[in-house]
């Protein structure tokens, strides 16, 4: 063995060391080139003293939705736009998949960086409460978005920006009742999901309040054929209005209505926007879609935290409802445009 080692010699080991160093060096250079722009660039507005502190404002956004997801990419667009408009620095982080453990660690990391404010979503209060409380205890103002509207206050979060499910469903019910609907179905594709249950409850309460009746129909999210047939079967009872809670439900309901030819006669409303839904509204197949307006969930918290950092002002707490925003035939065309730009 030593004979061989002598042959390997200093040249051999240096050779390998060099190769390693080169590889590492190239790696370092490659990654360095992908760094975000440093915050201290020229600000867009005239360089008065009031702008200088703005550039120092750093806000961290940690959500459970990846920027590659169509819903969350709109949120991120809101975040980025606000950062640009205000001239502050914002980072957006999310775990690679729905992973509460990773998300809480991301929050911890951001807290260690001592930002001027943190924006979080709270899909799992149990898992995230420790990290959020730690952020609050560290004196960092926290605003929550999208999920956690029922628990944010207990964690010390200052504000919640999002859509409250019950009110959204209620708003949908009011709208339907206003157009004369008396007997409604609420097609829930995930019975047991507390948020969705609340939507249906609000919806039916509103219709009942206006003198009508309604009931919940559970459909199978994973089986569109099953859902379609279930809706069809339930339509026989003189139903004249349906609310679905997402694209999965709305696709099934549309198919059912097409099948029995009642499209346009039975009023259909849904939650959340997709290109199909928007086209359906434009073509008169759907009455309305309830838009969470998640762009605002990205935009507004940045504005609020910046003002808080600069001047100490903040709305006195509570929930800023970004929804329900209704998209109807009149506004469908414009929304389709904006959807292409990633704003709705």
């Amino acid at each position: 063995m030593r004979r061989q080692l002598v042959a390997l010699g200093p040249e051999g080991s240096t050779d390998m060391r060099n190769r390693m160093l080169w590889t590492l060096g190239i790696l370092l250079v490659a990654v360095a080139c992908t760094r975000n722009e440093p915050p201290k660039e020229a600000s867009p507005a005239p360089a008065t003293t009031s702008n200088a502190p703005r550039a120092d404002v750093r806000i961290a956004v940690v959500t459970h939705g990846q920027a590659s997801d169509t819903f969350w990419s709109v949120v991120k667009n809101g975040v980025d736009r606000a950062a640009k408009d205000l001239g502050v620095t914002v980072t957006y982080n999310a775990p690679q998949t729905f992973d509460m453990v990773a998300m809480s660690r991301l929050i911890d990391a951001e807290v260690a960086k001592k930002p001027d404010g943190i924006v979080v979503s709270i899909p799992d209060p149990n898992a995230l409460s420790r990290s959020i409380k730690a952020a609050v205890d560290a004196g960092i103002p926290v605003i929550s978005i999208n999920s956690g509207s029922d628990i944010y206050k207990q964690l010390g979060v200052l504000l919640h920006v999002g859509q409250t499910e019950y009110e959204a469903g209620f708003g949908g019910g009011e709208k339907m009742a206003a157009s004369g609907v008396k007997n409604v179905l609420c097609a829930n594709h995930e019975v047991g999901n507390a948020s969705l249950d609340l939507r249906c409850k609000g919806f039916i309460d509103a219709v009942t309040k206006a003198g009508g009746t309604g009931k919940v129909l559970g459909v199978n999210a994973a089986d569109p054929t099953d859902s379609q047939q279930k809706v069809l079967a339930a339509l026989g009872d003189g139903v004249d209005g349906i609310l679905t809670l997402g694209p999965l439900g709305s696709n099934a309901a549309l198919a059912a209505l097409k099948q029995n030819g009642k499209i346009g006669q039975i009023k259909l409303g849904t939650f959340d926007l997709t290109p199909d839904v928007l086209a359906g509204i434009r073509d008169g197949q759907l009455e309305f879609a309830i838009d969470q307006q998640q762009y605002l969930q990205g935009y507004l918290p940045i504005v609020l935290l910046t003002q808080y950092k600069l001047y100490g002002v903040l709305p006195a707490g509570g929930i800023l409802p970004t929804g329900p925003g209704f998209v109807t035939k009149e506004t469908a065309a414009r929304v389709i445009d904006l959807s292409k730009q990633g704003i709705r």
Partner: protein, 327 residues
């Protein structure tokens, strides 16, 4: 000195140093070098490291366990459901989950050994079965996908001290990780059983003919990986006072990656538990370091992939030198 180069961990140690230097340079000011920053990536490393130690043993014996991630979800959810729904004491629930883990590991091992199917396939099947069962049972029983409230369980305080407390700001998981890695490495390198692991992976037929109980070794190792998953699930359930059905998703691949970065061959017969520990450390540093340095998190995967390839290249280069036969 040459001996150092020949060790399977060499690539991983070098890589760790390089990554640390990189982030110290780029993100030192923004928290990477602070104590809390260090504690955060060490904690991530510790949980992955416990998995990687067990997984590397199994890989050295020539098998894969893709069900580790879903075992985390299943055992964690078992603990949460037993406590929240049935009011069990935490220790009892943890023990029950441990029995589940042993059962899963035993079945994995038995099927692999009896059917001679590739363990990749068998454990992939287990992954689906476990993952689906976890989701199905949880929704059936609770109608939700997250089960919390563990802090109200009996004996939570004691369990919290054991699994979720912090010493000087550093999670106690880190100490568990170091202890378990040391134990595993000792078993591999200093016991008879460890030699059997090498033999079972490097030349299974020959080993069998020489009297090594290859089947028993493999079954034992599958049970070990399942137990590692159970340990991590317990830690996380206690830390986060609950479980969700998707917990642990993807951890099996990360553990394999950490083991490979640490010098373990995919073909078996060669590897290092200490190396897997460094592999897990690299993971932790990269995951948090990217956040600290402000690099867009989309590049996390690129970074990881590049590092993996580099590590494997270095490892095989070193191994090639080691294997050069005399004339």
């Amino acid at each position: 000195m040459r001996k150092l180069l020949n060790r399977p961990e060499f690539g991983a140690v070098g890589g760790t140093a390089a990554i640390w230097l990189f982030f110290a340079f780029y993100a030192g000011g923004s928290g990477f070098l602070t104590w809390p920053g260090t504690a955060s990536y060490l904690e991530i490393a510790s949980e992955l490291g416990i998995l990687a130690a067990a997984v590397s043993l199994l890989m050295i014996a020539g098998e894969f366990d893709l069900s580790v991630g879903s075992t985390i979800a299943a055992t964690g959810m078992t603990i949460s459901l037993l406590c929240e729904r049935l009011g069990w004491s935490l220790w009892a629930a943890i023990a029950a989950a441990g029995v589940l883990a042993l059962g899963v590991g035993f079945l994995n091992g038995l099927v692999v050994v009896r059917t001679r199917l590739p363990s990749f396939i068998v454990t992939l099947g287990t992954l689906f079965i476990l993952s689906g069962s976890t989701i199905g049972v949880t929704r059936l029983v609770t109608g939700r996908t997250q089960v919390g409230g563990l802090h109200e369980a009996l004996h939570y305080g004691a369990a919290e001290t054991l699994f979720a407390s912090r010493i000087g700001g550093f999670s106690v998981s880190i100490f568990w990780w170091l202890a378990l890695t040391a134990l595993t490495a000792w078993v591999l390198l200093r016991t008879r059983f460890g030699n059997w692991i090498f033999g079972a992976g490097g030349a299974p037929d020959a080993a069998r003919n020489l009297g090594v109980p290859v089947a028993r070794v493999k079954i034992a190792l599958f049970m070990t990986t399942a137990l590692a998953a159970w340990f991590v699930a317990t830690s996380q359930a206690i830390k986060f006072t609950g479980t969700d059905v998707l917990r642990g998703t993807g951890k099996e691949l990360e553990a394999i990656l950490a083991a490979v970065i640490g010098g373990t061959l995919l073909t078996g017969g060669y590897g290092s538990v200490i190396g897997a520990g460094f592999g897990a450390l690299i993971f932790g540093m990269v995951q948090q370091g990217i956040v600290f340095s402000g690099i867009d998190s989309d590049w996390y995967k690129v970074f990881l992939g590049a590092m993996l390839i580099t590590a494997v290249l270095v490892n095989s280069y070193v191994r090639g030198k080691v294997m050069e036969a005399r004339r």
